[in-house]
């Protein structure tokens, strides 16, 4: 009696689990799978064996099948998203481990979520933009631009939080310029080269015009930081220029 009630409950859960299969697979095999599970439940019940262990094993085994079938039927976007999601998770391990080891590194859970989202968005941006062109210089240009953009955005976020100086928000104009430029250029190499050069020039201008208000020893470090970002944006621009010239040949 007890096994019957449990069996009915497990069969209902199993039918719900089968909904996670891709539609085409479910339409073809869903009924047969539910029937087979029913038969297996009855076999266990008739033998007087408990259903919990069997149901747990079958649910896990079916779940593996669901993941496999969904992966096989995923399109490029789905596969890319999954790959980037796992890579972002791998990268997240760095701050996660560091927060356990490095003294004073005490991020709140929200901080990890933000970093994960940033990793994911940057990774997806790379995957979607880099496939626009086969040239290595284009892919490298996208990579350098995104890494530099990510680092600039991140360091500025930390700097604004530490200094509580809203004037530093002006650095985000460089990133906005990059996004607008990339959209206007429709991700064409030539337009992206111009955009990256414009970003480097804007950053240089900001570094010269906007007073940092930092003490002299900090100002030197900031100048080095600015220089590094300008070099990265320029390098990315040169890579896009190379890709655009290669396209013309």
């Amino acid at each position: 009696m007890g096994n019957n009630v449990k069996g009915r409950r497990y069969r209902k859960c199993y039918a719900n689990l089968l909904q996670l299969y891709p539609r085409a697979f479910r339409d073809r095999f869903g009924e047969g799978m539910a029937q087979t599970f029913h038969d297996l439940c009855r076999e266990h019940g008739d033998a007087g064996r408990g259903l919990f262990g069997f149901a747990l094993w079958t649910f896990c085994e079916t779940l593996v099948g669901i993941v496999r079938e969904n992966l096989m039927r995923m399109n490029y976007l789905g596969k890319t998203m999954l790959r980037v999601a796992f890579m972002s998770l791998g990268l997240l391990m760095v701050p996660l481990v560091a927060s356990q080891v490095v003294e004073g590194w005490n991020w709140k859970p929200g901080g990890f979520v933000i970093v994960y989202v940033l990793f994911f968005v940057t990774g997806m941006a790379y995957a979607m933009i880099a496939r626009k062109m086969g040239a290595w210089s284009y892919k490298a240009g996208v990579g350098v631009a995104l890494v530099a953009g990510f680092a600039l955005g991140w360091s500025n976020m930390v700097h604004v939080a530490d200094s509580e100086n809203p004037a530093n928000l002006v650095y985000y104009s460089v990133l906005v310029l990059g996004i607008v430029g990339a959209c206007l250029a429709r991700l064409e190499a030539r337009g992206l080269a111009r955009t990256l050069f414009a970003m480097a020039a804007t950053l240089t201008l900001i570094a010269v015009i906007v007073p940092s208000g930092a003490p002299p020893y900090m100002a030197r470090n900031m100048a080095i930081g600015h220089g590094l970002f300008v070099v990265l944006f320029t390098a990315s621009g040169l890579l896009f220029r190379h890709a655009s010239l290669a396209e013309l040949k």
């Binding site: 697979f25 073809r28 095999f29 009924e31 047969g32 799978m33 029937q35 087979t36 599970f37 029913h38 038969d39 297996l40 094993w57 079958t58 085994e61 079916t62 779940l63 593996v64 099948g65 669901i66 496999r68 079938e69």
Partner: protein, 115 residues
């Protein structure tokens, strides 16, 4: 349209067991599971996820096909979907057994030399 399996690549253990189970006649999902268990003397226990996942690929490869839905006289009065081997499935099973024989012959030869 189903892809036909023209390349005689080694079969996965699950596919081989399903082909073996269906080699003696049509079976439904639960029947295949029980036959696999019996053929392997209880060593292979296939869950529904593995069974139907493998069968999906086997149907795409043209190794098996669905048969008529009917009641199993040895079980309850529920109608079940039966599966059966195709000609390609039977040929794949034969080819796999020949491959196995070859592997066994090589292995036995090596072991005999090693003694």
């Amino acid at each position: 349209m189903a892809k036909k399996n023209t390349v005689q690549a080694p079969l996965t253990p699950a596919v081989l067991h399903i082909l073996l189970a269906l080699s003696t006649g049509e079976r439904h999902g639960y029947g295949i599971m029980k036959q696999v268990e019996a053929d392997s003397q209880g060593k292979v226990k296939m869950g529904p996820g593995t069974l139907y996942g493998s069968m999906s690929r086997m149907m795409e490869a043209g190794l098996i096909r669905e048969s008529a839905k009917r009641v199993d006289p040895e079980m309850d009065d529920e109608r079940r979907i039966y599966y059966q081997l195709t000609g390609a499935g039977r040929a794949a099973l034969k080819a796999e057994l020949i491959r196995y024989r070859g592997v066994v012959a090589v292995a036995e030869g090596r072991l005999a030399h090693g003694q």
